[in-house]
Amino acid sequence: MYRGGAGQWAWILHRVTGVGVLLFLLIHILDTGLVLFGAEVYDRVVKIYTHPLFRVGEVGLAAAVLYHALNGIRITLLDFYPELSGRQRELFYGVVALFVLLFLPGAYLMLRPLF
């Protein structure tokens, strides 16, 4: 266990984003399943996703997936190269830097049609 610090934040964020993405996945399986009930039903329901609130929500989803992916690489690297473990904090800062670098342009492109 940690007594605070970068490693603990990395770990808590990994869990929270993981649960969040799984929750969305379950909803997304159900909404996509509506294609089996025909065009009218499906189109009426997925239209909800075009609401501005959901457009912002999908940026949050993208953020969660991106963080979870980048920190997942960090965890896997540390698993297979234990000699890196003294550098786990720097690796976390690398994750944060890469996240910001990829997320900002992505969020801009996703939200641009709203304005």
Partner: protein, 130 residues
């Protein structure tokens, strides 16, 4: 609380099913990195939710390769996600009765969503539905 490696990952289990689960999380995670981020880029950067409707899905799934892509993403994401939850049940739920109840519902839900998801991706026929 399970002990954590320095990185916050679980230490590699020594053998058995737990070792398979540990390896699966790393391998599926790496594949999901491309499949899930690819899916997000295709749906939200190249296309947008404005375009997604029945006709869009029908056209996309007319190509079996997209069905395969979506099915693979679905299977790996579900198993990866539910195995993550299983680890969290191990970590946080103390009482034996609640552990059994949560694990049973977890396995039930995993099976249910694997079946629903696979059915949707594999049997959808736009002509019959539209």
């Amino acid at each position: 609380m399970a002990e954590l490696s320095e990185a916050g990952g679980r230490p590699r289990p020594t053998g058995g099913l737990e070792l398979y689960a540990w390896v699966f999380m790393r391998v599926s995670g790496l594949l999901l990195l491309f499949l899930a981020l690819g899916h997000l880029a295709i749906m939200h950067l190249i296309h947008s939710v404005e375009e997604v409707n029945f006709a869009f899905v029908a056209e996309r799934w007319a190509n079996p390769l997209w069905r395969l892509y979506d099915w693979l993403l679905l299977m790996l994401a579900l198993l990866h996600g539910f195995n993550g939850l299983r680890v969290m049940v191990d970590d946080y739920i103390r009482s034996a009765a609640w552990r059994v109840a949560s694990l049973v519902s977890l396995y039930g839900l995993t099976f249910l969503f694997l079946v629903i998801g696979s059915l949707v991706v594999l049997i959808f026929q736009p002509m019959a539905g539209g």
